[in-house]
C-alpha cells in the first residue's frame, strides 16, 4: 500500500490506528466517516472552509526567515511557519473550522472537546461562538491551574469548562472524560477531537484539516527560497501540527521530517512524554499506537512543562512514519524548551508557545553543524498563554 492511500478503510496506518472503542460509538464513528467523506466531495463545503480559513482565521500564514537567529547559530538557515499568527493563537483553529462545518452538516447542536494547553479548547469555544452551538470543554485540573488564561478565554467565549480530577488531571484524563460524555450523548453531540489521535476517522480527518500547513509551506518554500527545505521540525504531543506539516512532504524523500517530543525532566516513566524512546505499542483512547505503559499494560504518568505535549500516546500515523523510518522522533527537555523560547523572543521578537519551543530547541541544537541547509520550524502557537510559566521559570527577568 502506498502512503498516499493511508489509512486503509478501517483506519489503519500499517498496524497502527484502527477503531478501539465501546460498541456504542462504532456506528456513530461510521456515520461520522461517511459524513466527512461526503463533505470533502462537496464543493460548497470546501469553499466555505477556504473562506473561513482566509477571512476569519488569517490564512495563509507567513513563512518567515529568522535571519537573526540564523546569524547567531552560524549554520542552517532557520525559517518559521507562523501558525502562531492565526486567530486564537495556534494551528488548532484549522481543524476546528473543518469539524464545526461537519458537525453543522450532521445536525449536531452540542459540541464537546478536550484540551491540554487550552489552545484546542479556545479554538473550539471560538468556532462554537461563531456558529451558535453549545460548547463543553473537558480540561484536567492540573492543566486548568497552569493554563488559567485559556480557561478564562473559553469562558469569555461562552463555553463551559468542566474540570477533570481523575488520574493525572491532564490531557489524558480530559480525553477519557470527553469520551464518556460522547458515549452518553452521542445522538446530539459531536466530539470535536483536537489532535490526530483517537479512533478512525479522527487521525485521518484531523490530519487532512491541518495539511494546509504543509501545503502552504511547500509552495512558499519553492517561491521564497527556490527549493524545498532540507528538514522540517514540529513538536509532537498527539501530533496534529506535525502531521499537518509533514503530510504534504512525505513523498519528498530529500526532506527530513523531525518530530520533537517532550523530554520533560528525566528518562524515568512519569518524568517525560517521549513515547518512542520510552513506550511500546498499545491501545489508548480508541487507537493502537506507541504508548507509555508499565509491564501490566497500565498507562504511564507523563510530565512536561508544556501541557499540550503531556500525553502518553501519539497519533497512529506518526507511529507508522516512525516504523517506516520516514520521520525521525527526538525529544527536547523542559529546560531546552524554556531556553529556546527565550532565545527566539530575544533574537526575533517572537514569543513561542511552550509546545512549539520544543521544535525550536531541536532546530537550534542541530543548526550549527548544518551550514547551507534550510530548516523550517512549525511555530504552531504563540506564547501568551504561557507567560505565567515563563515567569516562574525565569525569575531573573521578573524582578
Amino acid at each position: 500500500m502506498t502512503r498516499a492511500t493511508l489509512p486503509d478503510s478501517l483506519g489503519h496506518f500499517g498496524p497502527y490506528g484502527g477503531r478501539y472503542v465501546p460498541e456504542v460509538l462504532m456506528s456513530p464513528l461510521e456515520e461520522l466517516e461517511e459524513a466527512y467523506r461526503a463533505a470533502r466531495l462537496d464543493p460548497a463545503f470546501e469553499s466555505e472552509l477556504r473562506g473561513l480559513l482566509h477571512h476569519y482565521a488569517g490564512r495563509p500564514t507567513a513563512l518567515y526567515f529568522a535571519s537573526h537567529l540564523t546569524e547567531i547559530l552560524k549554520g542552517a538557515q532557520i525559517w518559521l511557519k507562523r501558525e502562531d499568527l492565526l486567530h486564537t493563537g495556534a494551528h488548532k483553529i484549522n481543524n476546528c473550522l473543518g469539524q464545526i462545518l461537519l458537525a453543522r452538516r450532521m445536525g449536531k447542536r452540542r459540541i464537546i472537546a478536550e484540551t491540554g494547553a487550552g489552545q484546542h479548547g479556545v479554538a473550539t469555544a471560538t468556532v462554537c461562538a461563531l456558529f451558535g452551538l453549545e460548547c463543553v470543554v473537558y480540561m484536567g485540573e492540573e492543566d486548568m491551574r497552569r493554563q488559567r488564561l485559556n480557561v478564562f478565554r473559553m469562558r469569555l467565549l461562552g463555553a463551559t469548562v468542566t474540570p477533570v480530577a481523575n488520574g493525572s488531571r491532564t490531557l489524558k484524563d480530559a480525553i477519557s472524560e470527553a469520551m464518556r460524555d460522547w458515549v452518553t450523548n452521542v445522538a446530539t453531540t459531536h466530539y470535536l477531537l483536537g489532535s490526530a489521535l483517537g479512533a478512525h476517522p479522527y487521525p485521518m480527518m484531523v490530519r487532512d484539516f491541518h495539511k494546509v500547513i504543509g501545503e502552504e509551506t511547500r509552495a512558499q518554500a519553492l517561491e521564497q527560497i527556490g527549493r524545498l527545505p532540507d528538514a522540517l521540525f514540529a513538536c509532537v504531543g498527539g501530533g496534529s501540527n506535525a502531521i499537518g506539516m509533514f503530510a504534504p512532504f512525505v513523498g519528498d524523500s530529500s526532506v527530513q521530517l523531525i518530530g520533537v517530543e517532550a523530554g520533560g525532566r528525566g528518562e524515568k516513566l512519569g518524568e517525560h512524554a517521549a513515547r518512542f524512546s520510552g513506550g511500546s505499542p498499545g491501545v489508548l483512547h480508541g487507537t493502537f499506537s506507541y504508548l507509555l505503559q508499565d509491564e501490566e499494560g497500565q498507562v504511564g504518568m507523563t510530565h512536561s512543562v508544556s501541557a499540550g505535549l503531556d500525553y502518553p500516546s501519539i497519533g497512529p500515523e506518526h507511529a507508522w512514519l516512525h516504523d517506516e523510518k520516514r520521520s525521525e522522533y527526538t525529544s527536547a527537555s523542559d529546560a531546552d524548551a524554556l531556553e529556546a523560547a527565550k532565545t527566539l523572543a530575544q533574537t526575533e521578537g517572537i514569543i513561542p508557545a511552550l509546545e512549539s519551543s520544543h521544535a525550536v530547541a531541536e532546530a537550534i541544537r542541530r543548526a550549527p553543524a548544518q551550514a547551507g541547509k534550510v530548516f523550517v520550524v512549525n511555530l504552531s502557537g504563540r506564547g501568551d498563554k504561557d507567560i505565567d510559566i515563563y515567569r516562574e521559570n525565569m525569575p531573573e527577568l521578573d524582578v
Binding site: R19, E23, N166, V283, G286, F288, Q293, G297
Partner: protein, 272 residues
C-alpha cells in the same frame, strides 16, 4: 466467522436455566477491590447470594466506558497492587471451591500487553471461561478471538442501541456463550429507571442469533432486575455491587454482607 464449540460452563449454565425456565443473574466485580486478597471470598459470596456467572473486571488505568463507581474501584484495585497474573492465581483459588462460570471483563490494553496467546492458555488452565473486552470492536477482534477460541474460551461482545443492523450481525457472528446488550448509550452506573432502549434492541438482535442475550448497564435494584429479566435471558448488575463493596469495604464481614445484598438482587429470579 466460523462457529466453534467453546467453553462448556457458560453454555451449560444457560442451557440448564432455560430448561428450568429461569433467568440467569450475572454479577460484575472489579477484581482486586478493595484488595486482591478479597476477590476470591467476594466471588464465592456472590455465588452464595444467587449469582450464576461472575464477570471479573480486570482493572485498567483509563476505563473510558465506566462511570465514577467502577472508575474508583479500578483505581483502588490498582493502588492495592492488582495484576492480571495475580488474578489468575485468585481464579485457581476460586476453582478449588466453585464451578461458577467466570468471564474476564476488561479493556484491551492490559490483556494485549500480557499477550493473547499466553493469556488464552493461562486463562483456560486456571478455569476462566470467557473474555469480554469493552473497547475491542469486532473489526479488530480476529486475532484475539482466534487465540481465545483455540483454548475453548468464549468471546462475548457488546451490542448497543446505536449499533446498525450490519453491526448487530457482526457482533452475533463473533460472540459465543452469550451476547451482552448495553441497555442504553452511556457509561456504567445505576439509573433511576430502566432504559426504554432495551426492548427494541432485543427485538432487533433476536432474529439474528440463537445465543442467549444478557442485558446490562444501569440495572441495580431488584425491581429493575425483575423488569430486565422479562426482556432477556440474563441480567447483569455491576455498579450496584461495586458500590456496595466500596461502602462496606472496611467491614470484617464484607463477604457475608455482600452475600445478603446479592440475595436481595437475585430474589426476583428465584421466585419467578
Amino acid at each position: 466467522m466460523e462457529m466453534v464449540q467453546t467453553a462448556t460452563r457458560i453454555g451449560n449454565l444457560f442451557a440448564a436455566r432455560r430448561a428450568e425456565g429461569r433467568k440467569v443473574f450475572i454479577a460484575y466485580l472489579t477484581a482486586g477491590d478493595p484488595t486482591p486478597a478479597h476477590t476470591a471470598s467476594l466471588v464465592l459470596a456472590l455465588e452464595r447470594g444467587g449469582a450464576d456467572l461472575i464477570e471479573l473486571g480486570v482493572p485498567f488505568s483509563d476505563p473510558i466506558a465506566d462511570g465514577p463507581v467502577i472508575q474508583r474501584a479500578s483505581y483502588r484495585a490498582l493502588e492495592a497492587g492488582a495484576t492480571l497474573a495475580g488474578l489468575l492465581e485468585t481464579v485457581k483459588e476460586i476453582r478449588r471451591h466453585s464451578e461458577i462460570p467466570l468471564l474476564l471483563f476488561s479493556y484491551l490494553n492490559p490483556l494485549m500487553r500480557h499477550g493473547f496467546g499466553n493469556l488464552a492458555r493461562e486463562a483456560a488452565e486456571t478455569g476462566i471461561d470467557g473474555v469480554l473486552l469493552t473497547d475491542l470492536s469486532v473489526e479488530e477482534a480476529a486475532e484475539p478471538v482466534k487465540r481465545l477460541r483455540e483454548h475453548s474460551l468464549d468471546t462475548v461482545f457488546l451490542a448497543a442501541p446505536t449499533s446498525s443492523e450490519r453491526r448487530l450481525r457482526l457482533v452475533a457472528e463473533h460472540s459465543s456463550g452469550f451476547i451482552y446488550l448495553v441497555s442504553r448509550t452511556g457509561v456504567t452506573g445505576q439509573q433511576a429507571s430502566l432504559s426504554s432502549a432495551i426492548a427494541p434492541l432485543v427485538e432487533r438482535i433476536r432474529p439474528l442469533t440463537d445465543l442467549p442475550l444478557a442485558v446490562g448497564f444501569g440495572i441495580g435494584r431488584p425491581d429493575q432486575v425483575a423488569e430486565a429479566a422479562r426482556l432477556a435471558d440474563a441480567v447483569v448488575v455491576g455498579s450496584a455491587i461495586v458500590q456496595f463493596v466500596e461502602t462496606h469495604g472496611k467491614s470484617p464481614d464484607l463477604a457475608t454482607e455482600l452475600e445478603v445484598f446479592t440475595r436481595g438482587l437475585t430474589a426476583p429470579l428465584r421466585t419467578s
